[in-house]
Symmetry: C2
C-alpha cells in the first residue's frame, strides 16, 4: 500500500497494465533514468506488487494480480462494516 505512494511508481504500474515490461521499455516510455527505474521497481517488488521473470539479459516485470486483489479486499472491508454512529470521546 505504502508502495503506491510515488507518482512515478503509479506510472510504472500503469505501464504494466497491458502485460510484461522490462526496464528498457519503461525507460523508453517514461524517459526516467535506468537506476531511477530500478529503484522504484525494487520498492514495488519488495511490496509484492510485481513479479519478475528473467530471460537472457532482460528481466520482465508484471503486476501481481493476487496482491492487487488483496488490496481490493482490504478496501472493501473498510466500507462493509457497521456504519453506526459512535459517540465521540466517551
Amino acid at each position: 500500500m505504502v508502495s503506491f505512494s510515488d507518482p512515478f511508481r503509479l506510472e510504472i504500474i500503469d505501464l504494466m497494465m497491458d502485460g510484461e515490461v522490462c526496464v528498457c521499455d519503461i525507460m523508453k516510455l517514461t524517459k526516467l533514468s535506468q537506476s531511477r527505474i530500478s529503484y522504484h521497481i525494487k520498492i514495488l517488488k519488495e511490496a509484492g506488487l510485481i513479479s519478475d521473470r528473467q530471460e537472457g539479459r532482460w528481466v520482465y516485470y508484471s503486476l501481481n494480480k493476487e496482491s492487487l486483489f488483496l488490496i481490493k479486499e482490504w478496501i472493501t472491508s473498510l466500507t462493509h462494516y457497521s456504519s453506526n454512529r459512535k459517540r465521540c470521546c466517551e
Copy 2:
C-alpha cells in the same frame, strides 16, 4: 492513492472502518499527538478520502466510500486488460 503512503494514515483509516471518529478519538486510540493527527487528517481530506462533519466543538471524520470505490475500480482496470506478451525493446 499517494495519501495511503503513511502507516499512521492507514491506521487512522482503519479506525474509521466502524464509522465516524473525531480527532480526540484517534488521540485516545493511537497515542499520537493532536497536531500530528490533524496533519494526517488534512492529507486524507485533501485526497478526498475522508469527509468531515462539524458538530459543536467536534469534527467527525469518516471514510468517503465513493473515492474508495474509485480506487478499487482503478485496481480492477489494471488487471482486466489484455495480458498478451509484449516483445521487449522493439
